[in-house]
Amino acid sequence: MKVAFPYMGTTVIYKKLIELLGHDVVEPPEPTQRTIELGVKYSPEFACFPLKVVLGSYIEAVELGATTIVTSGGHGPCRAGFYGETHKKILRNLGYDVDIIVFDDYKSDKTGTIKKVRRLKNGKSWFYLWKSLKTVYSMAKSLDNIEKRIEKMRAYEVNRGECTKAWQTIKTWFDEVENIEDVRKTEGKSNKLLGEIKLIEVPEPNKIKIGIVGEIYVVMEQSINLRIEEMLGGLGAEVERSQYLSKWIDFNLLPKGIGKEHELNILKKGEKYIQEIIGGHAKQTVGHIVDYAERGFDGVVHLMPFACLPELVSQSIIPAISKEHNIPVITLSIDEQTGAANTLTRMEAFMDLIKSIKRTKIA
């Protein structure tokens, strides 16, 4: 069984889990223009942009020999839950012989989930599985911590691109870990590497902090969000995202009552503006904006796939939040036609706005 997975964010983590279970991993390449084109070409027109890119990424994985794709179904009530089924149909129509294992919300389908896990467990013991999961979880935490550090450092690097390069190196290091001990060592080594990067000294009050919120796929996947983090870093802003893989695991996969305070707290902050979970991450989006405002961030970039149903609701409400909490927010709606040059211009203007607000605040 040659196993692949959807490309989203720090993929070495999924790769590791599948490897530890003794499967051959086919790592889908990071989405490129070709991936997007393939996805757009073979997806129905109605599909949301993430669905198209993921399809493109599956096709590339299958071209590389993947026979099984493991993915999560996402949580209704939105089109995300429709992804697995639609992808299966399209791939089959294209004549690809590939199996897609969709992990849906395990609470609603426990036996189904256990069956799927048994298949993937590959004859390994449950104890071994547990150990592997723990390793991978600690890896996710570790990588997220490192990435958060990089997202701050980028704004101040003396040599452009150094942080991003270090991040690539670090990910290849993590690709080698086998147990929790390795994870710890690699984290130490990574931090050392980052410590060596030369940074410009910027006094605390002059630092610019920008939060990135929105639909999970476009927030997490840099290759389709025009590398917005690097772009903003290059313009001198520290960034922080609303979503990180380890937090997603905490909220969606860990049992009740563990590690969920953060997300619940965010949902609570969003409550005033969107009272119910309306699908996708709309309620989290508004909650995170409030959170960033309260934490003294200077601005927020809101990312959404073009015409994303729930995020259109957040977009409609954002001007009110922005006003009430006194924080500038810019919405970027993303699809295959969103251009990098145009986005850069908009981000530059946004940074100018933030700087001028900061100046009047300080003066």
Binding site: I278, G279, L312, S316
Partner: protein
């Protein structure tokens, strides 16, 4: 006290319930007028550009009611009316959107949360929270809901005899029984579309009347029995997440299989995510069933003439086919 009800979205499905309810409680119900070009323009200005036309129209109606000086506007939060299904996210977030994006609306919205297992949403639990704001007792609410429920059930019953929502809304309002749906017709069309698209005369430009003038018998999803409709989607893999989208889809399948339906027209408003999905599914399956299928997508600026020509051509084509088949038989 004046309670405003926007003549948009689910007005076309639940108005008899809501209107009766508020009136029985002793309030004056103000319904916004028909959608006009001006109203849409106002709605567009108040909405984010990417959002679907029906929401823009809805915002226009809210603005009109605010201008009319109502005390409250009733915008229930439609969450679910079937187990395991939801409403389109825009419905679920509708009161939030209105409260925070329409100036002056914030404290004037009544937005009880509607979660129910069936289309009948006259359950006391849904409406009880408004008691305090409106200054009415639980007992009064219960009594008013009973009347509302009766009105709604009657509305649904007559609709199923083959009358359009507009005809029946009119009947419930004025007591004037609608005329029999046409008896002489040359073609029968299954019309797919959300009630707020098909019956908003600005969106669909009165498509039902136009079709009837062409000698067409029109059937829509609300004319069918809910349970029969639901059974069409017994194959779970075909179900979408959104209740009304499922109703449309189920109607579509029924139209495909039903021998007396000659063709299908899908009316959709620009910017609807769920509809683009349904449209695609129908298009793919229409080949399999060999039934003519046409989509009419209306945006803020579609010209009426153009629409009429396309519909005429479609109906003529179907009619010619029909005559030919008859001759050959």
């Amino acid at each position: 006290m004046k309670i405003g009800i926007p003549r948009a979205l689910l007005y076309y499905y639940y108005h008899p319930l809501w209107k009766t309810f508020f009136e029985k409680l002793g309030f004056e119900v103000v319904t916004s007028g028909k959608t006009t070009k001006e109203l849409i323009d106002k709605g567009i200005k108040a909405s984010v550009p990417e959002i679907c036309v029906p929401i823009k129209i809805f915002n226009g109606h809210v603005l009109e009611l605010l201008e009319a000086g109502v005390d409250y506007i009733f915008i229930p939060r439609m969450m679910s009316t079937r187990k395991g299904e939801f409403y389109c996210p825009k419905f679920m977030g509708l009161p939030d959107m209105v409260r925070y994006s329409i100036p002056g609306a914030k404290d004037k919205i009544l937005f009880p949360k509607v979660t129910s297992l069936t289309d009948d949403i006259s359950d006391f639990k849904i409406y009880s929270e408004m008691g305090e704001t409106l200054g009415v007792s639980n007992k009064q609410i219960k009594a008013a809901l009973l009347d509302g429920q009766k009105a709604w059930i009657e509305f649904r019953r007559i609709t199923k005899e083959g009358y359009t929502a507009l005809e029946v809304l009119d009947y419930v309002e004025t007591g004037k029984k609608p005329q029999n749906p046409i008896k002489d017709y040359r073609v029968t069309i299954g019309l797919m579309g959300y009630v707020y698209d098909v019956y908003d005369e600005f969106v669909s430009m009165g498509i039902v009347d136009k079709l009837r003038e062409m000698g067409v018998l029109v059937e829509t999803f609300e004319m069918m029995d809910e349970n029969l409709l639901d059974a069409e989607l017994s194959d779970m893999n075909k179900r979408l997440f959104w209740t009304f989208s499922n109703k449309l889809l189920a109607a579509g399948y029924k139209f495909f299989k039903d021998g007396h339906i000659d063709g299908i027209i899908h009316v959709t408003a620009f910017g609807c995510g769920p509809d683009s999905l349904i449209g695609k599914i129908m298009e793919l399956d229409s080949n399999e069933f060999g039934k003519p299928f046409m989509t009419i997508r209306v945006d803020e600026h579609t010209g009426e003439n153009h629409l009429l020509t396309r519909i005429e051509a479609f109906i003529d084509m179907i009619y010619r086919e029909k005559v030919k088949v008859k001759k050959e038989a």
